[in-house]
């Protein structure tokens, strides 16, 4: 198959799947497989979505969630990469801290929800804290393992060509770990998007997580599904945005060989 036909297929084929899914959904609703009170129709959801967009509630919730995710994720990345670099270069520190990091990495960030509320109350802060806890440790681990696995010959070469301290970091270490770190950013951004919904359901008064929780409490199943659709779509958009990073010419080597 030619590349052009493949790329048109990349739009057409998923659309076919989408249409089929909506058709099955409609059929289930029409046949009343589930009671209508707990199973909204596609058109009710579409109407609810339009209503939420018109009142401005949905955009406001979206902005609130995106703000939390961006802040928590950026904090985790800005602190996690330097910590990973440091641990990757210092064997003794790595021996000391790696078990603790793996402990926190294995601990579901949702386990922190009670403390998040007790320490930070309700609103932006607890959600940012939970997102940070979800993202920081995976970023550290990915960075340090990328640093530790840089072929030593690169540093021999850097010595032959007289790269000095800061240049070693900016011209050897960082470009050498970039592909692996970018992959981990994609994974952790997805994680952050999962966590913000859970955090807002419990410790929020706005945001998409709160919106679907609120819809459920008001028995507005149409709005609940509308919220779910927005959450899923935004998650896909975030991944697509971060995937752009893998197209940078100087990191392609990490994905192509």
């Amino acid at each position: 198959m030619t590349e052009k036909r493949l790329s048109s297929g990349s739009v057409l084929l998923p659309v076919i799947v989408l249409v089929a899914a909506v058709a099955i959904w409609s059929a289930l609703w029409l046949l009343q497989v589930f009671p209508p009170s707990v199973f909204p129709s596609p058109w009710a959801v579409a109407k609810g979505l339009g209503e939420e967009l018109r009142t401005g509630r949905l955009p406001a919730d979206l902005v609130a969630s995106l703000f939390r995710v961006t802040t928590g994720f950026m904090l985790a990345v800005l602190l996690g990469i330097p910590v990973g670099l440091w641990l990757g270069n210092h064997v003794r520190s790595r021996l000391a801290f790696l078990p603790a990091i793996n402990f926190f990495r294995s601990l579901s960030p949702l386990a922190w929800i009670p403390f998040a509320i007790l320490w930070f109350g309700i609103g932006d802060l607890p959600a940012i804290f939970l997102i940070f806890m979800a993202c920081f440790f995976p970023v550290v681990v990915a960075t340090l393992s990328a640093v530790a696995s840089i072929p030593s010959v690169y540093f021999r070469v850097a010595g032959d060509y007289r790269f000095s301290g800061l240049e070693l970091l900016t011209k050897v270490t960082l470009p050498a770990i970039a592909p692996e770190v970018i992959t981990s950013l994609r994974v952790t951004a997805g994680l952050a998007w999962l966590v913000v919904v859970a955090a807002e359901m419990i410790a929020g008064r706005d945001g998409l997580g709160f919106a679907i929780w609120d819809a459920r409490n008001g028995l507005r199943m149409d709005l609940l599904v509308a919220g779910m659709i927005v959450i899923g779509v935004i998650g896909m958009v975030i991944d697509r945005v971060l995937m752009r990073l893998t197209k940078i010419r100087s990191v392609r080597w990490g994905y192509e060989r």
Binding site: P151, V153, Y154, R156, V157, G159, D160, Y161, R162, V172, P175, A176, A178, R249, S250, V251, R252, W253, G254, E256, R257
Partner: protein, 239 residues
Amino acid sequence: MNDKPLRIEDCSVSFGSVEVFRNLSLEIARGEFLAVVGPSGCGKTTLLNLFSGFLKPTKGNVVCSGRVRTVYQHDSLFPWQTAAQNIAMGLRDLSSDAESARQLQEMLRLINLEEFAEHYPHQLSGGMRQRVELARALAGATDILLLDEPFSSLDYLTRLRLRRELARMLEELPRTVVLVTHDIEEAAQLADRIVVLSERPARICRELSVSIPRPRELTHPTVVETVHAILAEFGLEQN
């Protein structure tokens, strides 16, 4: 300026209880192409590490006067840089941008890869990558070139081709060269002088000089004779 820029004086090197060299001495003249051959594990790479200063001898003295560059066995190009950027690393010390741009073009022309300047290493064949490695090491003002089995990961024909190219490049950019290899033909085809090392602890068990000019044909009688002499030294052919 002394005329022996590389000297190993009575050096011993041990790693724990493994003795690699015992009282080894070796001198290399300016502009000379020395090849070191020997059984695998005899310490050929260790010898290069002594010259490059990467390794200090347990005992003895190493003199290395001049700027050293090493070509490693394979994949030491920075994969995040294009061929041109990798070669430009060798020109880092030039202060004038115009001059480094000119020399970069010159090096690309020398290795016949002008069209591949903007390609990344993973987009090049093994032979092309190794040519970029050579260009990077030969670019700019350097004196000494250390070659650590530079063609060992290439197929036979590419290897033969790159030997010719290396000979041609050295004609334009003369350097003092130490080539470490297990490829006896390679040594005989390229080197002015060949040192044959013994098993560990390595000592020089034979020295041969090859005085015909480069590039040499593989089937030239002198090359064949040299190959035979080395094989005989290893007990692989009748003396």
